[in-house]
């Protein structure tokens, strides 16, 4: 599963920042689009496995799935595209342009506040 590689890359970045800040990471937020097909459970499991024995062990990994959006050609409505029923919700047209899928991002990391 490509979740393993994604998790390893996320972990490496968090460890770099933890080292620089000399702080313990407690939470990280990853976001991805629908086309990335990132499986949430597999991702969490891969991250836990990779993080075992590091300062990231036990931290919370949040995954935000960003829906695919499309623009209707006839009526210009921007809508969340459901691939099972690919229709404009406003005018029922099947003529639309899909917007670029959201990239796979490490959005933010939260560190424990130092006393």
């Amino acid at each position: 599963m490509h979740e393993t590689v994604v998790a390893e890359n996320v972990l490496r970045t968090i460890l770099e920042h933890a080292e620089k800040l000399k702080a313990r990471p407690v939470r990280a937020l990853v976001s991805c689009g629908q086309f990335n097909a990132l499986n949430e459970e597999a991702m969490k499991f891969a991250f836990e496995t990779a993080a075992a024995g590091t300062v990231c062990q036990g931290m919370l990994l949040q995954i935000r799935q960003i829906p695919l959006r499309a623009v209707c050609r006839p009526c210009r409505t921007v809508f969340e595209l459901n691939l099972m029923t690919p229709l404009c919700p406003q005018c029922r047209s099947e003529d639309f342009d899909i917007e670029p899928d959201a990239p796979l991002l490490l959005e933010e990391i939260e560190f424990e506040d130092k006393q």
């Binding site: 990853v30 629908q34 086309f35 691939l83 490490l106």
Partner: protein, 218 residues
């Protein structure tokens, strides 16, 4: 304390992919990343393509497989340079692995490089290899629900090959549903219906290749 990053997670792979892309542009090499489920006919299509086009173009193949170098040997027997990457369990090729393999086949002297990715319809599509274009192969016996199940892979294709059409009379397969589902996520990519086994429909594939080899763009 919160640190905002908004950093691309696969940026290391993307940097290596950018180098490969530069290499292809510099040496005028057309490179296709071939993605499908195991057994859809990637190697079969490449073998036939090499046999039919090797007098016109110099062709090399980078083979990705979890284990064994069988496919590389099939390609060599068909008459092209081949290098096998054994991923040892990984479900996709990375741009770095391709970078090394390009040296092994002297890719700068070739017109056309195929990368046969690891058989998997999900994972390879997240990893840019720096290719000029992407070929996604779907074969008839896999079923007609695959474009709906794996939209990201079909959305990223420059061309889609529907292989094993010689089996259409024998298995249930709703061709119009497949074409509609592909059209939803990727209205630009041509869908080429062919059989790598019998050669039916193969000329449209060769025409597509020749056209893009002339302009070296997907």
């Amino acid at each position: 304390m919160k640190v905002s990053l908004n950093q691309k997670i696969l940026s290391r792979n993307e940097e290596a992919a950018a180098k490969n892309r530069q290499f292809f542009a510099e040496h005028k090499v057309f490179c296709l990343n071939v993605i499908s489920s195991p057994g859809a006919g990637k190697t079969a299509l490449l073998e036939r393509t090499i046999r039919d086009l090797k007098e016109q173009f110099s062709i090399g193949v980078i083979e990705g497989d979890i284990e064994t170098d069988n496919d590389a040997r099939r390609i060599q027997a068909a008459g092209a340079r081949a290098f096998q990457i054994e991923t040892k369990g990984a479900c996709h090729l990375s741009a770095e692995q391709v970078q090394n393999a390009l040296k092994m086949i002297d890719a700068q002297t070739l017109d056309l490089v195929f990368i046969e990715n690891v058989g998997n319809l999900v994972c390879p599509s997240a990893f840019d290899l720096g290719e000029s274009g992407r070929v996604v192969i779907l074969s008839v016996p896999e079923g007609d629900d695959k474009p709906a199940k794996y939209p990201g892979t079909f959305a990223g294709a420059s061309v889609i090959v529907l292989n094993k059409i010689d089996l259409l009379p024998y298995v249930p397969f709703d061709l119009s549903r497949v074409l509609a589902d592909i059209h939803t996520v990727n209205p630009q990519a041509p869908v080429l219906q062919l059989s790598a086994a019998t050669g039916e429909g193969i000329d449209a594939w060769y025409d597509w290749l020749r056209r893009h080899l002339e302009k070296k763009q997907p």
